[in-house]
């Protein structure tokens, strides 16, 4: 099973640690930055793809990565938007939109 994890912040790191338990699962990790929490916490060495995923490019990227399931960790986005009024709402709406736009099964962590 192939899983594409978008964002490797707190929830993403926890998901990765759980997914490690099953070696049959392939996880492709993408993040907007190259040193997300999962990397700094040494859960993974580095992210597979530095990419800012939006509703515009999710499906094109998914066609290339070909995951069975997409997981989204919005933690970093929410934190980055924390200083903007209603930034949390914006980040959540963006993640929901990505999930709604995705042609593949997609879960927001």
């Amino acid at each position: 099973m192939r899983i594409w994890l978008i964002g490797a912040d707190q929830a993403g790191s926890e998901a990765l640690q759980q997914l490690q338990k099953n070696p049959a699962i392939t996880v492709i990790v993408s993040d907007a930055g190259d040193k997300p929490k999962a990397v700094s916490d040494h859960v993974i060495d580095k992210v597979d793809m530095v990419e800012h995923v939006t509703p515009v490019n999710i499906n094109q990227l998914a066609r290339r990565i070909r995951p069975d399931l997409i997981l989204i960790d919005a933690g970093a986005a929410k934190r980055a938007m924390g200083s903007v009024s209603s930034g949390h709402v914006f980040a959540e709406a963006m993640q929901s939109e990505i999930a709604a736009t995705s042609e593949l099964p997609c879960l927001v962590l």
């Binding site: 192939r2 990765l16 997914l19 490690q20 070696p23 049959a24 699962i25 392939t26 996880v27 492709i28 990790v29 907007a32 190259d34 040494h42 859960v43 993974i44 060495d45 580095k46 992210v47 597979d48 793809m49 530095v50 990419e51 800012h52 939006t54 509703p55 515009v56 490019n57 094109q60 990227l61 290339r64 990565i65 070909r66 970093a76 986005a77 929410k78 980055a80 938007m81 924390g82 200083s83 903007v84 009024s85 209603s86 930034g87 949390h88 709402v89 914006f90 959540e92 709406a93 963006m94 929901s96 939109e97 709604a100 736009t101």
Partner: protein, 548 residues
């Protein structure tokens, strides 16, 4: 416990491999991978089990190549980084303290009490801290009552009392309602309806989006509305296939939502933070309820929506391309109409609107206890009903924009301090002689022009917080009914379209990365100036007709 584990991801099949194999090693192996992707290595497994792609040096190239292929829109890389800022800026904080201290060191004007002098220092402290933001805006706002106590203007109970003003709860409830709309996908669904009703014609879609955003912004805080709808606009833009048009059309869609939110916020006291402050200030001096506000706000919204639509299309000169409506239609069909929860939310919102607008009349007719159906009580009851129906729970409400509550509270605190200390009356005594003898139309023109210019550079809520108390006192002492000054002032505050810092809505537009700064500036001028002129004409007409 192992601290440095190998990468979980082992391989991507060749078709998903976006790096050129440096030595051709990935060739055949990659093809095999494409047929049967190998299992990921377990943690700690040696790297030798991974194929050649494991040796790829970085992901930079892949990112560039993917972007070249994926979409007619250039993907927006900077938005989240743009939102980042320092949490505490000592230099700015010292500047705020220095400015406030400077006011304190100046000799007290003869006609001003010592307490009033200190309130002037608080005025400068509030203006400087909310504008310069040495700390995040909500924290800066919380420092206002602290400074009030430190300056000896009031004791802690009095300084924080305005934070419990009913209008605070009205705004809080409107944020909760926004969360309910977002959680149950109602805003998205309405946007899908807009796409379908537009039949794919872009110009019509822009009008519908401005109208929809404006309508929602009347009942839930306009910033929250913009935050919910901008991502939908980004999705809509996927239907634009022409690469040259895509970026420009996306900018129009996002700006339509930003402008629509600003316009809709004018309509009610709960539409925006500055409205809430102004409404709270007026209600401290005289009765000015929800119905009074909407009687002026709604016609203004109705007039501004088509004007903004026309000017936005003029500003960008976009073709009336036809978008594909099938995906939106398919999604609507797939979801088989409104869900029961969505219907309940619409019902609660509809009932709330009925009570907000006609609450005082119903109260009088049914001899209900006074203020039982005041806007804040109705809003809280609506949220309670949504909670009872299990449409929202406390976890949903944690993420709402609590910060705005503190900013509104700071504005009310400042107004209270200026009023009690006599500083407000002193400021007015300086301004009043300059205005005496001038006709209302001239004062209106001065007010709207100065507000329009200043609101572009200063956060609109901050500006509203600082000037609303002054305008209420000015109106009452000069014989001009305060709403004749406050309403045009607040309506003009909403037209802060030029710069990202002028309002939270425009900040969101900017951080979405869809509109570049020159476009925002140009469009803001083309749309904003005629809109300000319309506000002026509206209040001039009302004044001539004796309706305000």
């Amino acid at each position: 416990m192992t601290t440095n584990r190998p990468r979980l991801k082992s391989t991507l099949p060749k078709r998903a491999t976006w790096l050129d194999a440096p030595d051709g090693a990935a060739g055949d192996g990659g093809d095999q991978n494409a047929k049967t992707p190998p299992a990921a290595p377990a943690a700690g497994q040696p790297a030798a089990t991974e194929p050649a792609r494991r040796r790829t040096p970085s992901t930079t190239t892949s990112k560039r190549r993917l972007q070249q292929r994926v979409t007619p829109l250039e993907i927006l890389q900077q938005p989240l980084e743009a939102a980042g800022r320092k949490v505490f800026d000592l230099r700015k904080f010292l500047l705020v303290l220095a400015l406030s201290g400077l006011v304190l060191l100046l000799p007290t004007p003869p006609s001003l009490s010592q307490e009033g002098h200190r309130a002037l220092a608080l005025f400068v402290f509030t203006g400087a801290s909310l504008s310069l933001q040495p700390v995040p805006l909500p924290i800066a706002a919380l420092l206002v009552p602290v400074a009030q106590v430190a300056l000896g203007i009031d004791v802690v109970g009095g300084a924080f009392a305005p934070f419990a003003d009913p209008v605070i709860y009205l705004i809080l409830a409107s944020l909760f309602l926004a969360e309910a709309l977002r959680k149950h996908g109602l805003t998205r669904r309405l946007a899908l309806y807009a796409i379908v009703w537009s039949r794919g014609y872009f110009h019509r879609l822009v009008l519908l989006l401005i109208g929809l955003t404006a309508f929602l912004s009347m009942w839930v805080l306009n910033t929250a509305t913009a935050a919910m709808l901008i991502p939908v606009a980004i999705s809509i833009a996927q239907q634009i296939h022409n690469k040259n048009d895509a970026r420009k059309l996306l900018a129009v869609l996002v700006l339509a939502i930003g402008y629509g939110a600003s316009i809709g916020g004018i309509g009610t006291p709960m539409g925006s933070g500055e409205n809430a402050i102004a409404s709270g200030q007026m209600n401290q001096s005289f009765s000015f309820d929800f119905f009074h506000w909407i009687a002026y706000g709604l016609p203004m919204v109705v007039a501004l929506v088509p004007l903004t639509w026309l000017l936005l299309l003029v500003a960008f000169r976009v073709p009336n391309v036809r978008l594909e409506v099938t995906p939106a239609l398919r999604e609507l069909v797939k979801s088989r109409g409104l869900t029961g929860q969505q219907k309940e939310i619409i019902g609660v919102l509809g009932l709330s609107i009925l009570f907000w607008v006609g609450g005082s009349l119903i109260e009088r007719t049914l001899h209900l206890p006074a203020t039982l159906l005041s806007s804040a009580v109705v809003a809280i009851m609506a949220v309670a009903l949504l909670s009872v129906e299990e449409l929202i729970d406390w976890n949903d409400l944690k993420g709402v924009n609590w910060g705005i509550i503190f900013v509104i509270g700071a504005g009310l605190t400042l107004g209270d301090a200026l009023d009690k200390s006599g500083a407000s009356a002193w400021i007015v005594s300086l301004v009043e002689p300059m205005l005496s003898g001038l006709p209302y139309v001239a004062i209106l023109a001065l007010l709207i022009a100065s507000t329009y210019i200043l609101t572009q550079f200063m956060n609109s809520v901050t500006y509203g917080a600082i000037l609303s108390p002054i305008l209420v006192t000015l109106g009452m002492s000069s014989g001009i009914a305060p709403p004749r000054l406050i309403l045009p002032f607040v309506f003009t505050l909403a037209l802060c379209y030029l710069l990202p810092n002028s309002s939270a809505r425009m900040t969101l537009v900017a951080v979405s990365g869809t509109v570049d700064a020159p476009s925002m500036l140009r469009s803001g001028l083309i749309v904003g100036i005629p809109s300000a002129v319309l506000v002026f004409l509206f209040f001039t007409a009302l004044s001539l007709l004796g309706l305000i």
